[in-house]
C-alpha cells in the first residue's frame, strides 16, 4: 500500500492538508482563525480535484501552434474555477459577519460568545 501511496502523492498531500484545516476549524477558538482553517480545507479539495485530471507529461489544454497531446483534462479545471469564485464570495460574507459580531459583542472568541448568550 505504501507503493500505491507513493504514486498518488498529490492525493495524500490533499488529504493531509484537509485534515490540518479541519483541525484548525475544530480546535481553535478565534473565529478568524477558524475561517482561515476553512479556506485551507477549501483549497485542499480544489487541489485534489485538479490532480485527478493531470496526465504524465501533459500540457495545458490550449489548442494553438505547438500544442501536442496528451492534454490535462479541462473538465475538473472548469469545476474548480467556479469553486474558487464561490470560496471568495463566502469569505467576504463571513468576514463581514465577523466584523458585525465584533461591533456588537466586543469579542470574536467562540467560548466567550457562548458564555455571553
Amino acid at each position: 500500500m505504501l507503493e500505491a501511496l507513493w504514486h498518488n502523492l498529490d492525493y495524500a498531500a490533499s488529504v493531509v492538508l484537509f485534515l490540518i484545516g479541519l483541525y484548525i476549524v475544530i480546535a481553535k477558538n478565534n473565529l478568524i482563525k477558524k475561517f482561515l482553517g476553512l479556506n485551507i480545507m477549501e483549497t485542499a479539495v480544489f487541489s485534489f480535484i485538479v490532480a485527478l485530471g493531470v496526465v504524465d507529461g501533459g500540457d495545458a489544454p490550449i489548442m494553438g501552434q505547438g500544442a501536442h497531446p496528451p492534454f490535462t483534462s479541462p473538465v475538473p479545471q472548469a469545476l474548480i474555477l467556479t469553486g474558487i469564485v464561490v470560496a471568495v464570495s463566502t469569505t467576504a460574507l463571513a468576514l463581514t459577519l465577523i466584523i458585525r459580531i465584533y461591533q456588537l459583542n466586543g469579542t470574536v472568541e467562540a467560548d466567550e460568545l457562548r458564555e455571553m448568550e
Binding site: 484548525i24 482553517g37 485551507i40 487541489s47 485538479v50 500540457d59 495545458a60
Partner: protein
C-alpha cells in the same frame, strides 16, 4: 529533478498550513496564508493547469488576503 520539485512544493504546502495553525498573531497567520495560496498556485502551474493557477493567484493571494487583513484590522490582532 521534477520529482524533487514536486516533493518540495508539497512539503512547503504542509509546512505553511501547519504554520497557520500554530501562529497566535493573526496578522502573521494571514500573511502565511497568502504564501500558502502562492505555493498552491505554483503547484497547479507545474501540473499544467494555468487557468486555475492564474485565478488562484489573483483571487487567493490577492483578494482573500486583503479581506482577511481588513477583518483583522477591524477586530483583534492576537488570538487569546
Amino acid at each position: 529533478m521534477s520529482t524533487a520539485f514536486d516533493i518540495t512544493l508539497l512539503l512547503l504546502l504542509i509546512a505553511t498550513a501547519l504554520a497557520v495553525a500554530r501562529l497566535k498573531d493573526l496578522l502573521a497567520a494571514a500573511v502565511v496564508f497568502s504564501t500558502y495560496s502562492l505555493v498552491m498556485c505554483l503547484l497547479w502551474l507545474h501540473r499544467g493547469a494555468p487557468d486555475v493557477a492564474m485565478t488562484e493567484a489573483a483571487v487567493g493571494a490577492g483578494v482573500t488576503t486583503v479581506l482577511f487583513l481588513i477583518a483583522i484590522g477591524r477586530t483583534t490582532r492576537r488570538e487569546k
